[in-house]
Amino acid sequence: MQIQLTKLAHARSGDKGDTANVGLIALRDEFYPILVREVTAERVKQHFQGICKGSVERFELANLGALNFLLHESLGGGGTLSLMTDAQGKTFSTALLRMKIEVADKEARSLDLG
């Protein structure tokens, strides 16, 4: 079944120049392996097509049950150069939470996601 990330994670995002960072944090420890498996750098790059013009890097923080994504070339030049409403990438966090991922029905039921 398809599950939206809002059911699995919370997030915070920010900026470093023209790069947006999104920290994606599992709502429960059991959800972290699903995030690691499904929310790959490739998926995130695809999700943000037209928004992220550069590469996407992913880092794992198992200790926090979190993934950190760097979305390069995403903020219209970044900082004061950017004309965007969200020049600091503050809403990239919730934009990522719009993503829907595939979770097997059985696994979803075992995690009370069904």
Partner: protein, 455 residues
Amino acid sequence: MKNRIRIAAGQGFWGDLLDAPVRQVEGGPIDYLMLDYLAEVTMSIMQKQRSRDPNAGYAKDFVPLMKQILPACVERNIRVTANAGGVNVEGCADAVREIARELGLAGRLRVGIVTGDDIMPRLDELLGREIELRNMDTGESLATVRDRIQSANAYLGAWPMVEALNGGAQVVITGRATDTGLTLAPMIHEFGWAPDDWDRLAAGTIAGHIIECGAQASGGNCQYDWRSIPDLADVGFPIADAAPDGTFVITKHEGTGGCVTIPSIKEQLVYEMGDPHEYITPDCVADFTTIQLEDAGPNRVCVYGVKGRPATEFLKVSISYSAGFKAIGTLVYSWPDAYEKAQVGAKILRARLDRLGLQFDEVLTEFVGVNATHGALAGDPPKDIPEVQLRVGVRSENRSAVERFTKEIAPLILTGPPGVTGFAGGRPKVEEIVAYWPALIPKEEIRPKVQVIEA
């Protein structure tokens, strides 16, 4: 040596809640108050202010704040670390000493002054010795913007502040110092940590990272179950309650709003994170993948297990340069067909800008209410959307092109689609863009200077 010290965050940026530092001082026991005033481009704003007035160039809010809290700080021996000095640290320190004398505190406190971060006067000499100060993000040579540079400062770490605290400074004022150093310095000073005690230095750095954005660690901007976060109107700013072994508890004063929970701390930990294995500061390299969090009671989160590695041989430099001009114009279109009308309005505006032959480096059209934050991810708006704000931004090296753009917005009201309003504010303002150039400099090039002076 003290068993524990409580370091309270009072400002997350220049412009944060004015009362927050006062409430940190009055709301309960603290030993230190750290105040972060400098965002990336703040130095250039201060440089501009100083070029108009040689006495300006620092965080002005800091002086009236000191007037308000200095008596209590002296009374209870609360010490302050603040990067409020901007590009005029001495001027800021003079103003604070004058306030101290006005308050009858002359002879009762010392002010620490940390300088040596300003490399603006040395730029040509440095470039002449092939210290290239290339842009860390793009690799470009600084020569491409040399004639447009407005400020250049190295980020100093905790150690110069430690020297000031060791010298008995009650208030330590710096220019461009790292925000994490403002929290780490009191720990090094009180607990006597060694310069190569990388794990503890990393722990103090992470404490600094958690509290440096103020209430963003204690319930502000927190997504996790946001409706349940109590009384943000009276939000308590975070406090790092630190022990000599490098463990610390993040908490806030009793009776304040907001929350300190594992989710609120996790959200702040990942904020503006790069590679979590290498959080690089002048003092150490902290490894965020080693952080352990534990619930230590209501509004208390214990942080432990932090590992660090040796600091690098470089300091980061923040350079600001003039990068042209921009302006942003907005109009609001109402139901019916709000989105369609806004799109037609945008098209008409673009056609007029084209006909005028105006050259822009970038023109950005956004529809607030439809796609300004999530772009195409937001999907199509409802057909009967009640209103849409058209927001058009332009950027150019050519000021007059941007100026002309600002005069093309209001005419759309009488010469475009109907149902439009929202122009009470008048023409958009042309803004000079001061852009940020991050670079690295070998550490041995920077010699911080520390003075401790009686008030």
